[in-house]
Symmetry: C2
Subunit: 308 residues, 2 copies
């Protein structure tokens, strides 16, 4: 069993109310793969420049993430995103985006990466997502993320790609934009009518929720008193979710599996925001994950007390 993720591996320059960091290791595929690595084997498919060095590779190696499909282009520079968060920490303001090597990204997967049982198409151009999806013929669970930019500029291609996946993860604003439907339950139904059996809706500081044939499931955000840097929360959420799903070894997981997966995703997301970039995931321990999973259970459990 293994998860393959395709997406950005990047440097991020970040400003939050808690400080600034220049060129920390980031990108959707980075956060995803580090989070997923706590549950299963991970292949990361991406492209970097020769500014990407041993220091960065060591981060992946420390979590046993396979980087054979991480292409390194000589004489070129890696994708670099600069962003700022204001006090409420919910909206990322992009200061600068330099695609660099990412502009011509069009991967041919190695046989190993192409034979993964679970595939996650992180937020990249939808044609590219579809080409990768078609290379992974053995994948039994395929997830897809996207963003407002592609919904606006490549809508038809995105919808065509969504028809070939099982799970779509979007945030609630993106889901409303995609479906033109302000009501979340209706929007999720419209999305599922396109093909995906699971709509996994990220709600930022409110947590996440999931719509499946069996019904609705909601997970709160972990009530952290200090969020240092929200970057990577959505990708770590997906990483925890799909990593856990793969670890079950079930090609057709029941609703319960998707629920537990969404909680593990929320657990990983709750850790990544505790520090800049992927620093928290780099020092995360497995027993911290189990402890926080149990805390999520406690945050969501209720019964009726005895009457006096």
């Amino acid at each position: 069993m293994a998860v393959t993720v395709v997406g950005s591996v990047a440097f991020d320059s970040l400003e939050t109310p808690f400080g600034k960091r220049d060129r920390v290791l980031g990108g959707a595929a980075t956060h995803f793969s580090l989070a997923a690595s706590f549950f299963t084997d991970v292949y990361v498919v991406g492209v970097v420049g020769d500014d990407f060095g041993d220091e960065e590779l060591t981060v992946f190696a420390a979590r046993s993430v396979n980087v054979d499909d991480l292409e390194r282009v000589p004489g070129a520079r890696s994708f670099h995103w600069s962003g700022r968060y204001e006090d409420d920490m919910t909206v990322a303001h992009t200061l600068d985006t330099q695609l660099n090597v990412f502009a011509d990204f069009d991967p041919e997967l190695s046989p190993q990466a192409a034979s993964a049982s679970v595939l996650f198409l992180a937020n990249i151009q939808p044609d590219l997502q579809r080409r990768v999806r078609r290379q992974c013929r053995e994948a039994t669970i395929v997830g897809l993320d996207s963003m407002n930019y592609w919904i606006g500029s490549a809508r038809e291609s995105l919808i065509e790609t969504m028809r070939e996946v099982d799970v779509v993860t979007l945030n609630d604003a993106e889901l409303r934009m995609l479906t033109g439907e302000p009501n979340l339950a209706r929007a999720a139904r419209k999305l599922r009518d396109l093909g995906p059996r699971v709509a996994l809706v990220k709600q930022g500081p409110y947590g996440a929720c999931m719509f499946t044939e069996d019904g609705f499931f909601s997970i709160p955000a972990y009530p952290l008193e200090t969020v240092i840097d929200p970057t990577g929360a959505g990708d770590s959420f997906a990483g925890g979710c799909f990593g856990y799903l793969d670890s079950l070894g079930d090609p057709d997981p029941p609703d319960d599996a998707f629920r537990a997966a969404a909680v593990y995703g929320s657990v990983l997301a709750s850790f990544v925001v505790e520090d800049f970039g992927s620093e928290r995931l780099q020092r995360l321990e497995e027993d911290e994950i189990s402890a926080r999973f149990a805390e999520f259970k406690r945050m969501m459990t209720f019964g009726e007390p005895a009457r006096a």
Copy 2:
């Protein structure tokens, strides 16, 4: 056992994407008392004009709500609010507010109403809330709601009143405004530091959450595909919550009781928005409440499936 609620009893003129209604029965104390009436005896303390007639009184009578403390001022008109909701249904745009009789509201409670075991101070001027609170010497659980207007214009009085209650219900924007703290967990801690043991935070379309000494609890909103009119959701939430709490007959309820109460509150809120004004609560049946309570449980429950 009984709950006393003090607050507005009003006529509302409403515009939502689903239609218009002129002068329907509304007001915080109305929605609260109808919701609470499914769980316990309710005394409603308020004031109306002589435009308030048998038709309106019948609504309270049908749910056995005691209206002996609902003062009727001859030759005057009832509080009248006009508002509009746009497509996303989360923000009420006030078109007109006519306080009328409500401007001089300063109730002396009957001995019956003053001896209730649970008291809810709906959103009115904080000095007035405090005067009512001090009349109810036997109340063992006191809740308070407020709004941005009082946080801005009567902040010190509001804080003084909060020191004398057990539970504060605010929405998340109000809580941030009150505490000056963008992070929800910190804001809730600051609120609880003022005195209330429970911070019950309403999050509109995201549901609600609760902070107590024992920890954090989160309840999703029921995923309705059609919300006809959000007016009264917060007050019905409080009504279900405090009505249920009173029904337990426990002067010092454990954390579990507050959790179940918050779920019952969410159940009542999920019904009221299914129709204009209080129309849905007027035809609500007890078995619908239990069925939806069970659905909330299902929406929040997860376990780990067996591994293959």
